[in-house]
């Protein structure tokens, strides 16, 4: 469904993505983990065509986004929902109008059905009370939930989440985590979630991927991550200060210890895959 092969992206004189290979399977929820600045959000932006790879290919629904025509790109995007870190709501229209916006502007639904869909989506994120409020009148967590309602309004086949629970109280986080699981179980939506929140990752992720130095360092199930003795995985999941994910004094990444993980956890080190 989503396939990234050998993707390189250089931003501000830094290789943010350095030969990234990643495949997202249909109907799965893939959680992308990694330290700040390792290219998690950049990966999402490539999947939705907001950024183009310097090298490598990004295929979504079989379409090579690097070679896609504007019409093909639009068609791909119509099948994708995207939750931004801060919701990215337009502040001069109400929450309800924000959710209705993609439906009205792209004429996906007849007028009379739009209000029903808006109410339905806001109900899903428990935000129906805020339908007539402006984004400036609601809290950051509510804005994020409203952003999620807008992302779901077009009933996308793929939903991408950029830090869906960061800065949220535990109850709001759980509402979003529950919604992600509901979308997976009932609507079979394919989801890619970028997060630092390990608890959320274990709850929602079918597979977890650890991004480091612009590549996938480790990928596997929640259980495999929890049981892994790979130093990088252990360091990240436990939040330890010292370890291979921390930079050395010279600024170079610390050497990765040989992988001795379970059967299915795949560890990719310096582009070479080992099992």
């Amino acid at each position: 469904m989503i396939e990234m092969q050998g993707v390189y992206k250089r931003l501000d004189r830094k290789d943010v993505l350095a030969g990234l290979d990643l495949e997202v399977l249909p109907r799965e929820t893939l959680v992308i983990l990694g330290r700040s600045g390792t290219g998690k959000s950049v990966t999402l932006r490539h999947i939705v065509g907001l950024m183009t790879a310097d090298r490598g290919t990004v295929r979504v629904f079989g379409v090579d986004l690097g070679k896609a025509s504007p019409a093909e790109l639009r068609e791909c995007r119509r099948r994708i929902g995207y939750l931004f870190q801060d919701g990215a709501l337009l502040n001069w229209i109400t929450v309800g109008q924000n959710v209705a916006l993609p439906l009205q502007e792209t004429r996906l639904l007849p007028k009379r059905e739009i209000q029903e869909r808006v109410a339905e989506c806001l109900g899903e994120v428990e935000l129906l009370d805020a339908i007539d409020k402006y984004p400036s009148e609601i809290s950051g967590g509510m804005r994020k939930r409203a952003g999620l309602a807008r992302a779901l309004a077009t009933r996308p086949e793929v939903v991408l989440y950029d830090e869906p629970t960061s800065g949220l109280d535990p109850i709001s986080s759980n509402i979003i985590n529950r919604l992600i699981n509901t979308l997976k179980s009932k609507l079979h939506v394919t989801q890619v979630v970028v997060t630092h929140d390990m608890n959320a990752a274990y709850v929602i992720g079918d597979r977890l991927a650890l991004l480091h130095e612009g590549r996938i360092h480790a990928i596997g199930t929640a259980r495999e991550f929890q049981e892994s003795d790979d130093p990088a995985v252990v360091q990240f999941t436990r939040g330890e200060i010292d370890g291979p994910l921390s930079r050395t004094a010279a600024g170079a990444p610390a050497l990765l210890a040989p992988h001795k993980g379970g059967q299915t956890t795949t560890v990719i080190s310096h582009g070479k895959e080992s099992r």
Partner: protein
């Protein structure tokens, strides 16, 4: 050390030139895209957006245009009357004020005010949308920022520019007439007849053409700077400042060439 400094200066100059060229290219592309999207302006949703913007922009600039135009007319008339008083040519004040206000000062002063009050607000608004990822959100929702943001602003300013220029011209001429009457005893009849005698249809057309061109300039420069904003709040401030500076420069350059094309 001096060599290193020279190298940095050359690099900075090169970066500035490249950025200016990129920005100009982006602006022209935006203008072409907005032109191609014109048929979409007829949709009820866009018409409502345009009317809302027209209402907001009119109230944001009306009082300033009134005050500035009034004093522009007063200054033009006063300077002329002071100069020709000893020659007894006060009756010619009408033509000077009318032609200056209609052909040059009205369009220019109006454009300067609209740029400072509306152009920079467009750059700040769209720039903020850029840094808060709202523009990205529009693109992901398959909503064209050109149709949704640029087109309504362009059309609103294409309408508002001539409207405010006519208003500015009328107020400036009335101001000139008032000071001529009260301080130099030039009658309203004399002022009006002299103004009408010299003012040609071409002058009115040139003034209106400038106002349309300046209106488009304000909208496109504001949107260009907004859409190209990078770097948070500092970037928004930079875009806002640039939108005013670039617009002012373009008013002078384009104004010169329009006058040259019609009168040379």
């Amino acid at each position: 050390m001096p060599l290193a400094r020279l190298q940095r200066s050359v690099e900075s100059l090169g970066a500035f030139l490249v950025q200016s060229a990129q920005s100009s290219g982006f602006g022209l592309q935006l203008l072409a895209s907005a032109g191609a999207a014109l048929p979409h302006a007829a949709s009820p949703r866009r018409i409502r957006d345009i009317l809302n913007l027209l209402y907001t922009y009119s109230f944001a600039s009306l009082v300033v245009v009134l005050v500035v135009s009034l004093f522009t007319g007063l200054i033009l008339a006063l300077n002329f009357l002071i100069t020709v008083e000893s020659l007894g040519q006060e009756h010619l004040v009408g033509r000077i004020v009318a032609v200056s206000m209609v052909r040059e000062m009205g369009p220019l002063m109006t454009a300067v005010i609209l740029s400072a009050s509306i152009g920079c607000s467009i750059a700040a608004e769209i720039g903020t949308m850029r840094v808060t990822e709202e523009i990205d959100a529009l693109e992901i929702m398959s909503i064209s920022p050109v149709r949704f943001l640029v087109l309504p602003r362009l059309i609103a300013l294409l309408v508002l520019g001539p409207m405010m220029t006519v208003f500015s011209g009328v107020i400036g001429i009335l101001g000139g007439a008032a000071i001529s009457y009260f301080q130099y005893a030039v009658s309203w009849e004399s002022f009006k007849n002299d103004a009408i005698e010299l003012l040609k249809l071409k002058d009115i057309f040139t003034g209106l053409l400038k106002s349309v061109v300046f209106g488009a300039t304000i909208a496109i420069v504001g949107c260009t700077q907004g859409l190209q904003t990078r770097g948070g709040a500092t970037g928004v401030g930079r875009s806002t400042r640039r939108s005013v500076v670039v617009s002012f420069l373009l008013f002078l350059i384009l104004g010169y060439y329009i006058t040259w094309a019609f009168y040379k």
